[in-house]
Chain length 223, copies 2
């Protein structure tokens, strides 16, 4: 009865991490047409014979292509249209995944290629636009949630967290206010001590409380 073909359905993953004080995204060189030889987001078809849902497909693709499942992953948006993929009318369910550079290095069996999101070459499909939107979302959520914490290792100090928020939001954040707010808000729990850092006093280590991942008021915006 439907007078139309079924669309192609794929999942694409924007895996972000911090390296050299920059947000970077994981890209892979395409080995097949279309866009063979071009850099692209890791992605693949939804497998209706095995995947239980989109999240499941995203995890499978991460594991297959990157060698691990990320600590944090959430759906960004779904992009679709007749011309974005030369193979036909396509639907791409896009996920944003965040991971610390350390976890990425230790978990991944496959050597990954990271590119600064601020200076990307021309990517396959509409992947430049997708990366831009993912970064916008991260920045936007960074003003009222703990999302950027997933760019840090599981255990981290408040100064590290402060630094990551400044990098992600791209504005300086008042150190005193940040520390006070984060401490009083009860979103962190102590996780041992003594990381034996370099110079100066060693910072207390914390871990995100599982239940809480959102602030009541923004952290960014001139703080």
């Amino acid at each position: 009865m439907p007078e139309h073909e079924s669309p192609i359905v794929t999942v694409d993953i924007v895996l972000l991490t911090l390296e050299d004080e920059q947000l970077k995204v994981t890209l892979m060189e395409r080995t097949k047409e279309p866009f063979a030889g071009r850099l692209a987001l890791p992605g693949g078809y939804v497998h209706t014979n095995t995947d239980q849902n989109g999240d499941d497909a995203a995890r499978r693709i991460m594991t297959t292509k990157l060698g691990f499942a990320p600590s944090h992953m959430e759906q960004l948006e779904t992009i679709s249209g007749p011309t974005r993929d030369p193979r036909g009318w396509s639907v791409s369910i896009v996920y944003v995944a965040l991971i610390s550079r350390e976890a990425l290095a230790s978990h991944s069996a496959i050597p990954l290629h990271l590119y600064p999101v601020a200076a990307l070459p021309e990517l396959a499909f509409d992947h430049n636009k997708i990366v831009r939107r993912a970064v916008e979302r991260l920045r936007s959520k960074g003003t009222y949630s703990t999302l950027p914490c997933h760019l840090l290792p599981a255990r981290f100090s408040i100064p590290q967290m402060h630094h990551v928020f400044e990098l992600v939001l791209g504005v300086p954040l008042n150190r005193t206010s940040f520390t006070r707010k984060v401490s009083e808000m009860g979103i962190l729990e102590l996780a041992g001590k003594e990381p034996a850092a370099g110079r100066g006093r060693t910072a207390a280590q914390y871990r995100l409380k599982e239940e809480v991942s959102f602030f009541h008021r923004p952290l960014g915006d001139g703080m």
Copy 2:
């Protein structure tokens, strides 16, 4: 090459409005299997021969099933899985649309059925869950954006806006602070005067400035 069938791809629309001091959702009785006779969100297949993208499909479905395109519509999320639709592995791109009760009454050619979101019967597919998520999103965005304004007519007063935000967020909001913040924030522009209301002083009428639809800081949360 893909060892899997293509999924079914549909669009579902959560059209919300305010009536009798309550958030209500537009539902339609299904005429066909599966779930014939059950209430469901308006929705339909993506038409790959005509639709230019998901938004376009959503607009087409709105126009066909409800008789008009909504003033505000945004993508909520995409839900998928092998069992949510008995016809097979399905992908549903969900949109949230907001409209004022007045605009709904005047624009819609088709008589619509509104149901309070707080007390829904058992709906077809996973539509109860979808409505719940749409309402969560509206509430959440209501704390830091002007999204709930789209439940008002294009021209509205600050007291009306205050009332809508209280209804959506479910908490009392300080009247003085709300008025002051909204006024000083420069998100509204005067739109004539004299609506000739009932009792008491008549309120000034405003319209949302097009460019700005987000606040820098939340409106809700104990304001």
